[in-house]
């Protein structure tokens, strides 16, 4: 990464410079009466004026001020930062996918429809569900879609119900989604084992509960050992169970979530199925459902008849559309390429080695970092900060110090129920040498916390910037460049 600051593209601008290359008009000039009336036209547009090389250099330098999976280990818990295979990008870049217009006649997009249909079938097999839609553009979008389907089911039964039960360890998107769909989020506490407190759950369940939103494995990296019973109890009062599939990587090939009794599941194709995060999106979120919720999937789906594919809008109970078109199709191409590359054996190995790596880190770090829940974890492990606390040293300091050792920090202060949480997810694509180097760094940092805590408190010193003033950023927001008066 480069330390040298890069001015804003607006500050690189110089009047009269230009980089664009567009053809001259090959048609006659406009008739006077065809033009846009003068008072409907803008008077100024102070965008940057730069040469093509200026633009290329600017964004190349910006890229060099970013850390990425391709730089090194990126152990962000809950984010599944595994290798994003290049062949997926090559596939998505084929003109037969990238330059297809969504309104083209079905006869001219049979390959694209076959891919959507095929990816849906692969996902149904991996998860065990009756059907799925690839329309959600991200995980939270999938949640919205899933909870709206749960609501549609209850409305069809005559009562939308009012409550959604969500564990205190859940992702923030869960309660936010429930609220967007008109539900009151009710928190269920976690037990001493880190999973849902069954007694508390029993007292919360009644016929006004529309459903539960659970993450499996949960955000502590633990498998809900009572999940089958939880689903049974929920179904007994007519409630449904939503599965946040952000952590599906751990379960690949080992269990189909549908078999546990979970009614609806979203997947983050940008986590489990390697489509790149792109600095925060585009993602892609499949939403998978059992027979109960199948009628409510968003339109359109793709149907196949005698080897020909077509859009299927004929779904009278559908919740409707949730996207302008068919979701983030080019990411669907990437996910399809990934699953076809791995096949059944590779899918199973991905989950198996993600869990092996998670447990290896847990065991190697447990003497220096405090294990909140001492049991076998899945794909990730959550520590309650340093085992031996050091004066004034917080988990944030540990995380920032990782930067000076050449690593991206782990997730910190999440889940909210673990004090000083440090959440590490290695993924299956990291080799033992990388994990060992990272472990050595974390052990050294724990040592430094005792011997020279200032190294942690002042970290990072090797990044493009030091710690930033976030308070002023929020109090006096500067969110855009302003043209000079």
């Amino acid at each position: 990464m480069i330390q040298e600051a890069e001015p804003l593209i607006f500050e690189r601008s110089s009047p009269g410079r230009h980089g664009y290359s567009l053809p001259d008009s090959d048609v006659p000039p406009l008739e006077e009466d065809a033009a846009i009336p003068a008072h409907w036209q803008r008077s100024s547009l102070p965008l940057p004026e730069a040469s093509e090389l200026d633009v290329v250099r600017h964004f190349t330098r910006l890229s060099q001020r970013n850390y990425s999976i391709e730089h090194g280990f990126y152990p962000l818990g809950s984010c599944t930062m595994k290798y994003n295979p290049k062949v997926n990008d090559a596939a998505a870049g084929l003109p037969g996918f990238s330059f297809v217009h969504p309104h083209q006649p079905e006869s001219t997009i049979q390959g694209a429809l076959a891919l959507i249909h095929g990816l849906s079938r692969l996902i149904m097999e991996i998860t065990g569900y009756a059907n799925c839609s690839l329309q959600p553009a991200a995980g939270a979008h999938g949640e919205l879609c899933g909870v709206l389907m749960m609501r549609a089911h209850h409305v069809k039964q005559g009562n939308p119900r009012r409550k959604m039960i969500i564990p205190d360890s859940a992702h923030g998107t869960n309660p936010a989604t429930a609220a967007m769909c008109g539900y009151t989020a009710i928190e269920v506490p976690s037990s001493e084992r880190g999973t849902v407190d069954m007694d508390a759950l029993a007292t919360l369940l009644d016929e006004d509960v529309a459903g539960l939103m659970l993450t499996v494995p949960n955000t502590l990296g633990l498998f809900e050992q009572d999940i089958v019973e939880i689903c049974r109890m929920a179904h007994e009062v007519g409630a449904l169970v939503y599965c946040d599939g952000a952590n599906m990587n751990a379960l690949l090939g080992t269990v189909q979530p549908a078999a546990l009794g979970l009614d609806v599941l979203h997947l983050n194709l940008h986590k489990t199925f390697t489509t790149p995060h792109g600095g925060g999106g585009p993602g892609a979120g499949a939403i998978c459902v059992n027979e109960t919720l199948e009628p409510y999937l968003p339109v359109p789906l793709v149907k196949e008849q005698d080897g020909a594919y077509a859009w299927d809008y004929d779904r009278p109970d559908s919740i409707g559309r949730i996207h302008s078109f068919y979701g983030n199709f080019l990411n669907q191409v990437r996910a399809y390429t990934y699953i076809r590359t791995l096949g059944a054996e590779g899918i199973k190995r991905a989950g198996e080695y993600a869990v092996l790596n998670g447990n290896y880190l847990k065991e190697r770090l447990r003497d220096a970092y405090a294990l909140r829940y001492d049991r076998t974890c899945m794909h990730e492990v959550v520590f309650a900060g340093l085992k031996e606390k050091a004066e004034g040293v917080r988990t944030l300091d540990v995380a920032k110090r990782m930067i000076d050792y050449g690593f991206h920090p782990s997730t910190v202060y999440f889940p909210l129920i673990v004090p000083e949480a440090l959440m590490i997810e290695p993924t299956e694509t990291e080799n033992k040498d990388t994990l060992d180097t990272f472990i050595d760094a974390l052990l050294a940092i724990a040592e430094e916390a005792q011997t020279s805590p200032e190294l942690l408190k002042e970290a990072p010193v090797s990044a493009p910037v030091r710690r930033l003033d976030e308070t002023t950023a929020a109090r006096r927001p500067n969110l855009r460049w302003q043209p000079p008066e």
Binding site: I36, I69, N84, V100, T173, A179, P282, L356, R480
Partner: protein, 452 residues
Amino acid sequence: MDYVPHSDEDREAMLRAIGVASTEDLFQDIPANVRHPHLNLPPGMSEPEVIRHLQALGQQNSNVLEMPSFLGAGCYNHFIPSIVNALILRGEFLTSYTPYQPELSQGTLQAMYEFQSMVCLLTGMDVANASMYDEATATAEAVLTACSITKRSKVVVPDTFHPTTLEVLETYAEGRELTLVRVPTFTIDDDGAFHDCWDAVGAAIDDDTACVAVQVPNFFGWVHECQDIAETVHAHRAMLVVSADPVALGILTPPGEYGADIVTGEGHSLALPPGLGGPRLGLYATRKKYLRQMPGRVSGMTEDIEGKRGFVLTLQAREQHIRREKATSNICTNEALAALAFTINVSWLGPEGMRKKAELCLAKSHYAAAQLDALPGFAVSAPGPYIKEFVVHCPSQVHHVNEHLLEHGVLGGYDLGNVRAELDRHMLVCVTELNTRQDIDRLVATLRDFEA
């Protein structure tokens, strides 16, 4: 093949360190009766095999590079320069996460800040977020935000708004109290010509109205005068939501100048190829006073402890990971890489390129319209100024016309019968800077041969 790098020795050493005999021991929490199902998936493939398979699927699709296309209706084929892909596919941008650790994410955060600045300049608004999924969800969230701010539930939309956006809005509004009033704002005469009755929008606004949402240019391509609407809206203490095409804003008055309170838009056509309609790029900009009700991520400029300029995700107290059920939206992942592509392309275009792009659309669409209007049996209908899309009334149903065009290697315009049965002889034709005169002449010549 797969991407697991472990040797057998590594695996054994790791199992020993954990203190278990096999990986199977790590999965004991999962009920045994459902563990290790047989997965009926095809066997894995090597890279040459998988890319050959994908190429074969891709070749079953026609595409707009090999065939002149006059399709628009929400997805536009505009020119994306070579530098965009070269830069966004750099691993540093492509494979980084949401910039929660700002020290290692200055590239993404600064690009977001530049994106927000450009969206503000194009729309004439004070602040913008770092993107939404697409125009439809951005507009749906804008409308719901306006309802929250005004504490009212009536939403007025002209029937010239993109019907898909309204469908998404209806999906998003489930569980909220919201009344969508669709105002008829055009009529069609016996000859199939459109006539504007835009005043109906103003008449539908009252003191129960939360917001009016209009689209510029509208779904059918023409531009409405919105100054009067804005005044009526504000006289009733309601809000004006404008969904604007950023390409058209290269030439049109920015909505902020005529009183828009929230501006949304679809940015994909300045960022990415059509891609069967995804990824997209939702734009969202608003006035400073509504900043704390805005959904989505925002990058802000600040300083580090040494006084060096830096950028951070800010105002996170609006967002789900902090506020949970009280958040302004559940949005988390957005379309960051598409926003970066937009920022690169708009930097490359500059003010002159943005204007030239819009003017090329304007000139070419009017040339196409004049040629089509002169064909026997075809009549162009545009009750207002338009930039790249207009309606043509055809001598027979559009799907027949389009079949004829397809047989001759041309992708005809959008069949409006898909959204309204009585418009089955109306075609929505889109012409951008990528349609050459030769393409347009070929469209016209092919239609001249068409026998209804």
